[in-house]
Amino acid sequence: MGEKITITIDGEEYETEPGKYVLDVCKENDIFVPNLCEIDYIDEPFGGCRLCLAEIETERGKEVTTSCDTPVQDGMKVTTDTEEVEKGRKMALELLLSEHTGDCVAPCSLKCPASMDCQGYLAHIANGRPSEATKLVKESSPLAISLGRACFAPCEDGCRRELVEEVISIRQLKMYAAEKDMEEGPWTPEISESTGKEVAVVGGGPAGLTAAYYLRLEGHDVKIFDMMPELGGMMRYGIPNYRLPNELLDKEIEWILDLGIEVETEVEMGEDFALEELRDDYDAVFVGTGAWESWIIPIDGKELPGVMGGIDFLVDDRLGKDIELGEKVVVVGCGNTAMDVARTAVRKDKDVTVAYRRTEQQAPANEEEIEEAKEEGVNFEFLLSPKEILGSEGDGIDKVKCSRMELGEPDESGRPKPVEVPGESSEIEADSVILAIGQQPDLEVLEEQGLEQEDRTLGSNDKFQTNYEDVFTAGDASMGASSIVESTGQAREAAYALDAYLKGELEDYDIPDDFEMPYGYVHQAKVTEDDFADYTDKPRREMPTRSPEERIEDFEPIELGFSDEDAEADAERCLECGCLDRYDCLLREYAEKLGAEQDEYKGDKYQYDVDESHQRVVREPDKCILCGSCVRATEEVHGEGTVQFVERGLKTVVQPAFGDPLSEVDSELIGDLAEACPTGAFEERIKDTKPGPHETVKAGETHCVGCGLTCPAEIRAINGRPVMVKSVEDPVYEGHLCDIGKFDTMVEGDRPSYDEEKFEEAGDILDGADADILISQSVSIEEVEAVENLAEKVGGKLVIPGDIEKSNVDAEELLSSDQIFVEDGVYDVSPIFKSFVNRAKEDGAEIVKSFEELEDGVAIITEDSSKCPDRRVVAHEGANAEGLVDIGSDKLEDSSEVVIVYGREVENVPEDKKIFQLTSEKNEVSESADVVIPLRSWLEKKGSVINSFGEKVNLTPVKATVYPTNEEIIGKIMETF
């Protein structure tokens, strides 16, 4: 090297070396240039995706071209953001999107107004982790219990399981998880450091509580003002106890308030305080005052005594007011409120008729609600439109006169419009009429406070800001009467906008796409029953409920709750429609960034089957964008790709040889395919029953102990549980990790239980006995010292398997060697050795076929090599084989009565002796061992090993644990005899 050249990118000068490509320099300097087919550790550009366009000017002229394959030249000028460049990139991306099929996010989530990750929490439930499910729900709304009980569950409308047999009970599963979490001591979030800002929240209903929660989490001081005696708003006063029990609502609200939120109840804006005062006293105000006024239709007789609004009725009832209700009650309307009204009236032993001008199918109420109301004895009159309430001021209501309706042409909502059948009318006898046709905010109050209106609601801009810059709004006040889930979803976004305002960042704040247009990109073509023809029917688990006869006697909850088994079984039915690569799909990231439209170019797509044969990697060719990274990454290690391109034109596909399923592919680099894939064509799934997908976070970096190579590895965790192992970019190891490391060694297995009594049992065995110790090669130097002490005390030998030779050549020397011989069996220890050999070969090393041909080169030999050349790297099977060489002997004493087996990878354990095993993971030995004591796993312990290059490598714990250290365990054992 040495020679330096200068190129200009977007007006800035950068120094670089010849031999590099323009994209390299952009990457090194964090200049955004999208690219999907470049692999950092592979020098030759591929040039397939065509996304990395840039305008490049040399003395030969200016042209827009790909930057990945344009070598840098002194004096070159690069512009990465011209209109032409952006157009070209966008088109490339849109073309890729036009052949990419799949769902970024499952349809249930897309249907959820609060954008909840339904697939994600169902997965946690299926995996037996209700508390983690609840935590996930609470990323979208703190009202997990309320929603679990009383959400209208639009998610279930999106559920594709219906194409198999029945939808998943998504709402009831949320209910199960949330209540279980609450029972077992609820998960509680951490609150950010105090910002010193104060926010007043007016209204303690779904919107107010949600806003208060997320604002509190951001570290603001929050106080809720509510006009009612208790918080909860419509959840408390609009929804009857049999649907959302007070007791549970109280717990949920208490849990929110316990985060340090202040409350003042029975104070009403406009009566007890003015908005102006709050604006003076607080840094910002959130108005979530809801919609408490019933709509009264202009109908003759509406002023008669016995006519009331639906919500007024429900609120008064909740407040325990004495309501004069006649025997015959007519409820007008068929929404969820109307159902709540009718079913409340039934519980007061009244004769209830619901009159609705459209048909049952068109009714806005949930099917389930109508069904249950019918079971409870509510009468329904569909296609009947109340025209007049007959009666007198003195005698009250007599009847309701209605017109018979029939369905006509579709109206604005797309539903057929009910039209009167001329001359046909009908009368329903009534003592009370409850008009449950809608609600609206109290506009008068809002107006008095100086807030502007819009469409009979409180007006706000697209950042939820009202005409006062410091006043934000969401929920029913801003949308008109809506559902809990709509209010809570909107309030969450409003809270984040308000938070941005408080931080002075509102101007740059974008409401995330996942709210405006949920999660951006969906690519699935139309899905039909045929797509699920292979699935076995597993009908949904029925939620146990009280019988209609029983439940109309009181207001106690109808739903009794799922058992763990039912909940897990139902959640397991989830089809996992959403992409496993949801959290790190580069295609989606770019699509959002470049504003690419998935349907700009439409046309043929080829559909292939999903290959789920491999335990940990799923292959979905429909999502492949042919970047070839998987082919090249594995080719770089193996010399040939684990998968290959086949076919031509748009039919081109990447697949294993002969289209074999992944499980049958003879390669230890299946995980590498997923790591290389920038999108969801090869996806890694975690070991659980349901993979989620969940966002993982980096728990830390350590080294794989699968063999003597000790490749660097990153451990990723979900809620503190390590679940995934990823390769680490490294100059020596590049970015590979074989399947042994990714899926086996570094993933924790089932640990034996920790029990103090076991120590005594161990002491009994060891006391006075002759004992040898069989130790695994994958044990740290520090542990070895402790085990040596133990060996001394028991007077036995410390035995390591086999005759272990030491390496005397390091990685650098191997890579720069002129000649290399690789003994058979080395690649079985780790295929990554092949990567070293291939790189050396690229740098000119000759690969020879026998020891004899080796003149001045390096041999890579196995542990049981018959020959030990002068310069060698030994492919050790354990991470610390080199560290053990000097201490071990290779044979157990015949005389020893007891064998202590230390470490999980120990083989050839004798059967005729007493076995005392110390291991971090149960295995075959544990089944017959006399005593088993658990050890810390590699993810939990600190220590060092000496690898196959003779280098001392420190391993870092990446997981918190309460277990004693392994050295402490040994110490403890030594005290027992």
């Binding site: 040039g47 366009l53 394959d69 490339a92 073309l95 036009s98 052949e99 031509r648 034109g649 748009l650």
Partner: protein, 583 residues
């Protein structure tokens, strides 16, 4: 002795040359006539195949469209009676066929004349003289000579050959390779095949000279497996050249060694692209790589590689023998020599044509090709296969050279020349070529793999009368970006047929989109067939209709049920009285 030659290239064989040859052998035996009967390569007159030549003391007689049953008559008349078989005669001494008189044969000079399997016949016509001469020259002088000749790559791109050789010679490598690109894949192109079938030694001689000049020690001829005859004759040629010492160790005692092997391609169009071709030779999937590095710097197995097309190689011996000046005096200032074209389509006399570069399209199509078949008018000519473009009649006076064609939106390409008349729909033509290319895309780069497919789908919509003028703008935009941003030549040229038909025949596109009509009456979704009063009720159409859409009594006018009709046009074709009209 009297010589008889049968044009025995793939084209002749397809027309029945092998049957004719066998019949001739038999007839000569039966008539007990002793002549020297030979199989020769392509004579160049596809329109007259099978062709039999008789060379006697009077001179050369060419007989065209000879069928098996004509053979005895030919033998009896010409060989026994001594009178030419006039009905089949197309050229005779003193009356040379004007098809040839407009041409200038350099690379095809032996094709159709010598037995391609005989090195002796090649050598009789000065074969391997150039090699002997070259081996006595300094390699740099050879390169200079090639540079001076103004020879440019005949594969299509027209890069100056001498300059390329110079790069290869100047590049450092452990070894240097040479490749002959014989992966001719354009539909309608058969120049390279004919040349390899007709005069393989000319190609081989050029290659050996090139290897000596650039220092290559090993060469590959990459030829598609669909050319079995070419492969067979190449193998024979290589074998014979080795026997004669023109190939192998220490060639003609010069100390220079070079060996060559044939690599059969599996027929992927993209393997004509040099980097894809080299990947294929290396045993990898035939996928192009970004350039640079160019093959001259880092090609086959990472070593400097000199890759040239079949026709380019075949020019080399001529240049060495006749001199650079002689060569450059043919053609234009920018480009010396001749170019072989495969003239096909709606032309009266199609075939293999070799003309000086710079000859106009008019001369080729109307003088050599004798214009359009039948009474139709010329509409356009597609140059350069699916990578090329369509030029309308205004461009007939265009001289055929690299620059002029590129400017007009077409390319010289490897030499395909397809003539179209007024019955050809330009939307359909564009669709045809694009369909070919998108199927042949290697799948590597986005613009080519997905872009060409989407482009095709838009054309398909247009041909169904679907789509809008906005879509037409979108089409242009996309075609433009595919051209600019595709990785290799395949994608970069794929939109050419679309862009040129749009440039010269936009009104046809507009007619499809806005009026839902196909002016040439080709696009099946936009036409209807009607039976006119001229119908005599012969029932032919009703019998042939594949979907039984035609009904009518014997002897009375028939009728087509438009609901059932798939506008396949069979009725139109079979009607003996032209009573089926297309609208």
């Amino acid at each position: 002795m009297v010589k008889m030659k049968v044009g025995y290239a793939s084209c002749g064989i397809a027309a029945g040359a092998s049957e004719v040859y066998e019949a001739l052998e038999k007839s000569l035996k039966e008539h007990d006539v002793d002549v020297d009967l030979d199989q020769v390569g392509c004579i160049g007159m596809c329109h007259n195949e099978p062709i039999v030549e008789v060379e006697d003391e009077e001179g050369n007689y060419k007989y065209g469209n000879i069928e098996e049953e004509d053979v005895d008559t030919l033998v009896e008349k010409h060989l026994i009676e001594g009178n030419p078989y006039e009905e089949k005669l197309i050229s005779w001494p003193g009356e040379e066929y004007d098809y040839f008189s407009k041409q200038k044969k350099i690379v095809l000079r032996n094709s159709g004349i010598i037995d391609p399997e005989s090195i002796e016949e090649y050598m009789e016509r000065d074969g391997y003289e150039a090699l002997e001469k070259a081996l006595q020259m300094d390699p740099d002088d050879i390169i200079q000579k090639v540079k001076d000749s103004n020879l440019r790559g005949r594969g299509g791109a027209g890069f100056p050959t001498g300059k390329k050789w110079e790069f290869v010679k100047g590049s450092e490598g452990d070894e240097k390779y040479l490749v002959c690109n014989a992966d001719e894949g354009d539909p309608g192109a058969f120049m390279d095949r004919s040349l390899l079938e007709g005069d393989p030694h000319a190609v081989l001689e050029g290659i050996i000279i090139g290897a000596y000049a650039t220092g290559a020690t090993h060469g590959y001829i990459y030829c598609r497996a669909e050319y079995p005859l070419a492969l067979e004759r190449l193998e024979i040629a290589i074998e014979k050249a080795k026997e004669e010492g023109f190939l192998g160790e220490d060639i003609l005692g010069s100390g220079f060694s070079f060996d060559i092997q044939i690599k059969e391609g599996a027929g992927a169009f993209v393997c004509g692209e040099e980097t894809a071709l080299m990947n294929s030779i290396e045993g990898e999937r035939g996928m192009p790589d970004p350039r640079p590095p160019f093959p001259a710097q880092s090609g086959l197995f990472g070593e400097p590689t000199n890759i040239n097309n079949v026709e380019t190689w075949a020019n080399i011996p001529w240049i060495i023998r006749n001199g650079a000046e002689e060569f450059s005096s043919i053609g234009t200032d920018a480009s010396g020599g001749t170019k072989v074209f495969a003239l096909a389509g709606k032309v009266e006399r199609g075939g293999l044509v070799e003309v000086p570069i710079g000859t106009t399209l008019e001369e080729i199509i109307f003088e050599i090709g004798e214009g359009i078949e039948g009474d139709n008018d010329f509409k356009a000519v597609q140059l350069g296969g699916p990578s090329g473009g369509c030029l309308p009649s205004e461009y007939l006076d265009t001289p055929v050279d690299y620059e002029t064609l590129t400017e007009a939106g077409a390319i010289m390409g490897s030499g395909g020349m397809i003539v179209m008349d007024e019955d050809d729909c330009m939307v359909n033509v564009a669709q045809y070529f694009l369909d070919f290319v998108q199927e042949e895309s290697c799948g590597k780069c986005t613009f080519c793999r997905v872009g060409t497919k989407r482009l095709l789908e838009m054309l398909e919509d247009f041909s169904k009368g679907e789509g809008s003028m906005d879509d037409l703008d979108k089409l242009k935009e996309m075609a433009d970006k595919i051209k600019k941003y595709s990785l290799c030549g395949l994608g970069q040229t794929a939109p050419n047929p679309v862009l040129t038909t749009l440039r010269y025949f936009e009104d046809e596109y507009v007619a499809h989109i806005e009026e839902q009509t196909c002016p040439a009456k080709v696009c099946r979704d936009l036409i209807t067939y009607e039976i006119t009063e001229d119908c005599v009720g012969c029932t032919q159409c009703a019998q042939e209709c594949p979907v039984d859409a035609i009904s009518g009594e014997n002897g009375s006018q028939h009728e087509i049920d438009q609901e059932i009709c798939t506008t396949c046009g069979t009725c139109h074709e079979v009607c003996p009285v032209d009573a089926v009209e297309v609208d």
